[in-house]
């Protein structure tokens, strides 16, 4: 007996730095295609179900970071395997009970087309609900980050704003960002690829180097 599943039996997951799976979806803001977000950053996130406690706290929190994401040229779209009417009722309920208007569209993915394309259903956790997945898609439609959380853990919104800042900073300056980086902190420059470049790197002024392979600079 084997406990290793054949690769063919596993759902296909999207891959980083490849085009995000295109979709054409029914949402609370009308029919939307992935292509409608062209030239903008996009966070696509899934939640297990409408009218559930952790998801409700998350929706309120996503609405709270929405203005910060907009400042960064980033749109937001939610998804669950629920009906459009359930979504409408839930966002209206959140506004009525919590006083928070949900400003972003929510995909009603009853046929699971989008959830399947993005590998949002993790059968080991639930066969009927999407997990708490987050996908960051850049203005060219390339999938740049994926984060999967279990059903039991509400997400940390500050991390998504930080992630957008980090990706945009990396793209604009051809650098990387170290652990726990926040805007204003020093950034990491790429490690030298030759011994000659390594010698030059350690001699370079204005850098904060631990050694030749780990140097930071201010932007």
């Amino acid at each position: 007996m084997t406990i290793i599943e054949e690769p063919e039996a596993r759902a296909t997951l999207p891959r980083l730095n490849e085009p995000a799976p295109a979709f054409d979806a029914v949402t609370t803001h009308g029919p939307i295609k992935l292509a409608d977000f062209k030239d903008r950053w996009l966070i696509l996130f899934s939640h297990p179900a409408d009218f559930t406690p952790v998801c409700t706290t998350e929706f309120i929190a996503f609405a709270e970071i929405y203005p910060e994401l907009q400042k960064r040229g980033c749109d937001l779209i939610g998804l669950s395997i629920d009906s459009l009417f359930a979504h409408i009722a839930w966002v209206r309920n959140i506004e009525e009970k919590a006083g928070v208007k949900i400003p972003f569209p929510v995909i009603a993915d009853l046929d699971r087309k989008v959830a399947t394309a993005f590998g949002m259903v993790q059968p080991g956790e639930s066969t009927t609900e999407a997990s708490r997945c987050v996908f960051v898609i850049d203005p060219k439609g390339i999938l740049r980050a994926m984060i999967y959380y279990p059903l039991s853990t509400g997400r940390n919104m500050a991390e998504f704003v930080r992630l957008i800042d980090a990706l945009q900073t990396a793209d604009e300056n051809n650098v990387a960002t170290p652990a726990n980086w926040h805007p204003g902190d020093k950034v990491v420059i790429g490690a030298p690829r030759t011994t000659e470049a390594a010698e030059e790197r350690v001699a370079e002024k204005g850098l904060e180097c631990i050694d030749w392979y780990l140097c930071k600079k201010s932007l």
Binding site: G30, I32, D36, R40
Partner: protein, 75 residues
């Protein structure tokens, strides 16, 4: 089609969008004029094109004759 009803009438967003389309408008022009996000502009314009209220040439949009009549009647 949420912005164009089966009888051809328009939702509030659909009407605002149609009224904002000037000859040769871009999606950015319409977004700036209506204050709607680009994804909504693109989605609603697609509906208005399907209803023959707006025509598209390249990436520029113009009210059709039928669209101009609808905008006038809605206004």
């Amino acid at each position: 089609m949420p912005c164009v009803r089966p009888d051809g009438s328009l939702s509030t967003s659909g009407r605002l969008m149609l009224e904002a389309v000037r000859p040769g408008s871009t999606t950015e022009d319409v977004a700036a004029s209506t204050g709607m996000p680009l994804y909504r502009v693109r989605s609603i314009l697609r509906e208005l094109i399907a209803a023959d209220y707006v025509s598209e040439e390249g990436e520029r949009f113009t009210q059709t004759e039928q669209g101009a009549e609808k905008a006038k009647a809605s206004g």
